[in-house]
């Protein structure tokens, strides 16, 4: 059982406290994604698990075994780097065989395992090439192959797709998902791209400034964000926020909101410590607005983006708040036009 558990993990570089009291449990076979803006410590957290950095305090265990004092190679992990990190002077075969060679496997077994991994990744024909003769996607595949041959308990991916172009990124993403289903190994995947997080993860870990903001299944985080940061980070285009005050429902999970010309009741209220009259923010996803001539939210369109599958309109309300509207339909709205919207309080959040 290759679960990964972190208890009170802290990491400081000098005076900079980059990881703060992270507690985390990743179950066997789970695909966990660390997501967050750049500088949030997600890569550092991964490197702590890998053993490339030493933790300042706390406990990390992999498969019920404390690994803080073990070198990376003894932790039962394999890592795929953002920059591939292939050994440029070795062929693909030797890149993949490198770790097995160091572990003293027999030639026959090395061949067998490398070829098996190459077959999984459909790159048997690349084995004799050197990394310089490969395309970006192929290099990424070799990097993944190098991880597979080690047959690790836990796969670690550090932003593996960010050097690929958009089309390839999608294909590789699908491939990684397939691979995970096929191998069933515990996987930790770091990305700053919330689309990757949403599509790949069994469990998303949202990080900000070295702290865990929320942990949960993708749709749970999307529908019930624990705070404004998570709400704003997941979902595209970003959630709209309006300033106002709490008008009802203190200490419950349903609240009332008034502000910026908007009034709503029975809105999901996040946090039970708020009192009536406290200033709060109302969050509504752009997709959850509906065009309605009698709606209470009015705005003037400043930019209309027709993406084909979706129309995104940037608007400014009367009191100067910018917000967005997204619709799967193609809309005939011109820049400068005034549009009104209504929304379902059940899909909104008060933070």
């Amino acid at each position: 059982m290759a679960q990964v558990a972190l208890k009170g993990v802290n990491k400081s570089f000098g005076n900079v406290h980059v990881i703060r009291d992270v507690d985390l449990q990743i179950d066997d076979g789970e695909f966990a994604v660390f997501v967050g803006p750049s500088g949030c410590g997600k890569s550092t957290l991964l490197r702590l698990i890998a053993g490339l950095e030493t933790i300042s305090s706390g406990e990390i265990s992999i498969a019920d075994r404390a690994v803080m004092d073990l070198p990376p190679s003894k932790r039962g992990i394999a890592m795929v780097f953002q920059s591939y990190a292939l050994y440029p002077h070795m062929t693909v075969f030797h890149n993949m065989a490198f770790s097995l060679d160091l572990q003293g496997f027999s030639k026959a077994e090395i061949h067998e395992r490398v070829e098996a991994a190459a077959k999984i990744l459909q790159m048997e024909h690349l084995l004799d090439r050197k990394p310089a003769a490969l395309s970006g996607g192929q290099r990424q595949r070799v990097a993944i192959g190098r991880a597979i041959v080690r047959n690790p308990d836990v796969f670690l991916f550090d932003e593996p797709l960010s050097n690929l172009d958009a089309a390839l990124r999608h294909d590789t993403r699908v491939e990684i998902a397939k691979l995970h289903n096929q191998l069933g190994a515990t996987t930790i995947y770091v990305t700053h791209d919330q689309v990757e997080a949403m599509t790949l993860a069994d469990k998303i870990v949202v990080l900000k400034d070295g702290e865990v903001m929320q942990v949960g299944a993708p749709m749970e985080l999307f529908n019930f964000p624990a705070n404004e940061f998570v709400a704003g980070f997941l979902g595209s285009p970003k959630m709209n926020f309006f300033d106002g005050v709490l008008t009802g429902g203190a200490n419950t999970d349903q609240g009332g909101f008034h502000g910026e010309g908007l009034t709503a009741d029975g809105v999901r209220l996040v946090g039970k410590t708020k009192a009536i009259g406290d200033s709060v923010r109302l969050g509504i996803r752009p997709q959850h607005l509906t065009m309605d001539p009698s709606g209470q939210l009015k705005g003037r369109a400043t930019l209309v983006e027709n993406l084909g599958t979706e129309t995104v309109i940037d608007l400014t309300s009367d009191n100067g708040t910018s917000f967005r509207f997204a619709s799967p339909e193609s809309l005939d709205v011109k820049t400068g036009q005034e549009v009104s919207f209504s929304f379902d309080p059940a899909t909104a959040h008060i933070f």
């Binding site: 394999a78 050994y87 050197k130 970006g136």
Partner: protein
């Protein structure tokens, strides 16, 4: 305009650098006479030079009326290189002719005679053509003594390798110097680069307390001038040598054969000295190269289970080939061309002198035999040139291609 200017400056720089080398090579390929009497730049075009030839060999006394021969054949009969070829411009006639003012007497004249003009040699008519053919005609059969005649010849360029043959094969000095220089240079290149590569890896990628200060200290050693260190270094070596001599006397029966003495100046002391003085630069260069290798590569290797030594031998060394090659060239050139360290610290035995010392000594012995001096100089230049050209293929650009993004 500026482009032309740049080209001119560039051409000028190339000429300034190449000219001395051309001079050396040219002079070394010329004959002794030619290199003594004219500058190397005249070697490529026909030049008028004076030659003395004998009309025939002494003892060849068959009487004749007309003898014909060829000046060039006469000139070249004893030499198998630097053969004189070209056109005979004139002959300097020195002899007595009837004096027009004093009909009774003759007077001594020195006069240039041109092709086709007859002149009086030992009473016969001597006529030559510019291609060197001459006829010597007497009124009746005569057997004259040979006559040495000075001819001015517009001589074609001629080159030969006699000087090289002479310095390389006719005595052992230059071959010995070549061997001694190799004995010094090869270990004095390999030892520091080996040590420096290990040190550079440690300075670049291993964490230990005081690493950066230690590195600064090592690099700052580069400013210590070699000359300043001669005295302490030499004292050190003589200390070691006397200790080794005593040990020798104690351990072996060398006293019987009087072979106990261990020299303080030896090849080994040169290796140690060159290693010591080469290391700071080597460590500095290699460390700066190795620290620039992608961090992920080393991390990946760590995850793959490689130890520091395995990372060093399997990743760092293959990927550092360009830096290792360029430093080897530096160190090879510096040691090969070194005179002063070898002079003070190297073996003093004549057979063990390194090339620069041999060259310096030749300055005395060959004084005015410029062609020999230059031939030795060219031999000493050619070795580093060969080393450079053979190392050049290791300056591979894009060695890291394919390893990391954009790499």
């Amino acid at each position: 305009m500026t482009r032309t200017f740049k080209h001119v400056v560039l051409a000028l720089i190339v000429v300034i650098w190449v000219l001395p080398f051309v001079a050396l090579v040219t002079t070394s390929l010329r004959s002794e006479v030619a290199s003594k009497t004219s500058g190397f730049w005249t070697a490529f075009t026909p030049t008028e030079l004076g030659h003395r030839f004998g009309t025939h060999d002494r003892g060849e006394i068959e009487p004749f009326v007309t003898m014909s021969g060829n000046i060039f054949e006469r000139l070249n009969k004893d030499s198998d290189s630097f053969e004189v070829e070209g056109d005979v411009n004139s002959i300097l006639f020195t002899g007595r002719v009837p004096d027009p003012e004093n009909p009774e007497k003759t007077k001594l004249i020195r006069q240039l005679i041109y092709p086709g003009e007859p002149m009086d040699v030992r009473g016969g008519d001597f006529v030559f053509e510019s291609n060197g053919d001459f006829t010597w005609t007497f009124a009746e059969a005569t057997a004259p003594k040979p006559k040495n005649i000075d001819a001015f010849i517009e001589q074609n360029p001629v080159f030969g390798t006699d000087a090289y043959v002479e310095v390389l094969f006719e005595n052992k000095n230059v071959p010995n110097a070549l061997i001694a220089s190799f004995i010094v240079t090869i270990p004095a290149t390999i030892i520091p680069i080996t040590i420096a590569a290990f040190a550079a890896y440690a300075f670049a990628w291993m964490r230990f307390p005081g690493r950066d200060w230690l590195f600064v200290l090592v690099v700052s050693l580069m400013v210590v001038p070699t000359q300043l260190a001669f005295l302490p270094v030499l004292q050190g070596f003589s200390g070691i040598a006397s200790w080794a001599t005593s040990l020798n006397a104690w351990m072996t029966d060398c006293e019987a054969t009087k072979t106990c003495q261990v020299a303080s100046k030896s090849f080994a002391s040169l290796w140690v000295t060159h290693t010591a003085f080469g290391l700071p630069l080597a460590i500095y260069l290699l460390r700066n190269y190795i620290v620039g290798l992608p961090k992920e590569l080393l991390e990946s290797a760590r995850i793959d289970g490689a130890s520091h030594l395995q990372i060093f031998t399997k990743l760092i060394i293959p990927l550092s080939v360009p830096a290792l090659a360029s430093f080897s060239i530096f160190q090879f050139l510096w040691v090969w061309n070194d005179l002063i360290v070898a002079l003070y610290i190297g073996p003093a035995d004549s057979a063990d002198l390194v090339f620069p010392i041999r060259l310096q000594k030749q300055l005395g012995t060959f004084k005015d035999q410029l062609h020999l001096l230059n031939a030795s100089a060219v031999i000493s230049i050619i070795v580093p040139v060969i080393v450079f050209l053979s190392m050049q293929r290791y300056f591979i650009r894009g060695l890291l291609a394919g390893s990391v993004k954009g790499g």
